[in-house]
């Protein structure tokens, strides 16, 4: 029930090398730029949107998930599966205390899947986060980093 109620899906752009991203969840958007995270209504100016207090490095945001992987300590190939038509190897990964499932093609990370207990409440509830990456290298010069994204409303 809680999963159904809280299910959210966002889409956007990520520039890991620049340490920034922007995501549109529909009625809610999120942006990370210059080490600061903002959230609010899609299309709102960054100046008027709500700045998040927590640093953008958690397990529930894309940069945090990606940054876990260089610390991989154990990995085991568990199968093969295509992601968006690209054949991938599926690898169960352990990075410190965190267990992840990762899909890789011959160059990039294509998907990261994390499942964890949503403690402390509700007891026994599981939270899952999936990060999927595609269209590597697309031009994003036209992106406006002064406003929260509104791709979904625009389309």
């Amino acid at each position: 029930m809680r999963e159904e109620l809280t299910h959210r899906f966002g889409e956007g752009f990520l520039e890991p090398a620049a340490g920034r991203y922007q995501l549109d969840f529909g009625g809610y958007a999120e942006m990370c730029v210059d080490g600061r995270q903002f959230a609010g209504v899609p299309g709102a100016s960054r100046r008027t949107s709500h700045r998040q207090r927590r640093p953008p490095s958690g397990l529930h945001e894309p940069l945090g998930l990606l940054l876990l992987l260089p610390g991989t300590t154990d990995a085991q190939h568990v199968g093969d599966e295509a992601v968006r038509g690209t054949p991938c190897r599926v690898v169960a990964v352990r990075a410190g205390p965190t267990g992840l499932t990762v899909w890789v093609d011959d160059q990039h990370i294509r998907r990261i899947w994390l499942e964890e207990h949503a403690s402390p409440w509700p007891a026994g509830a599981l939270r899952t986060v999936t990060l999927e990456l595609w269209d590597f290298g697309v031009p994003v010069d036209s992106l406006d980093w002064s406003r929260l994204p509104s791709f979904r409303a625009d389309s």
Binding site: R2, E3, T6, H7, R8, F9, G10, E11, G12, F13, L14, E15, P16, A17, L23, E30, G58, H60, E61, P62, L66, L69, P70, T72, T73, D74, A75, Q76, V78, G79, D80, E81, V90, V91, A92, V93, R94, G96, T98, G99, T101, V102, V104, Q107, H108, I109, E115, A118, L126, R127, T128, V129, T130, L131, E132, L133, W134, D135, F136, G137
Partner: protein, 70 residues
């Protein structure tokens, strides 16, 4: 994360990909050897590095429960 938990997570990951029942996935993973293979670890780290250095990516974040959670 204990090694046993990691093993169970690997089994569940294989179940999700292959559709195999737990016992079959566990047996097949055991046959492939223990986790921690240097090749698999290096593969992940190299891909992560390439992905991180890529200047521009389009990406999607989907939360089976909620993502991100505030």
């Amino acid at each position: 994360m204990t090694r046993d938990r990691a093993r169970k997570k690997a089994i569940r990951a294989r179940m999700a990909v292959s559709g195999e029942p737990y016992s079959v996935a566990a047996r097949k993973l055991a046959a492939t050897g223990p986790a921690g293979g240097a090749t698999a670890v290096r593969e992940i780290i190299v891909r992560a590095d390439k992905t991180h250095r890529n200047r521009r990516e389009r990406r999607r974040l989907a939360g089976g429960a909620h993502a991100p959670v505030r």
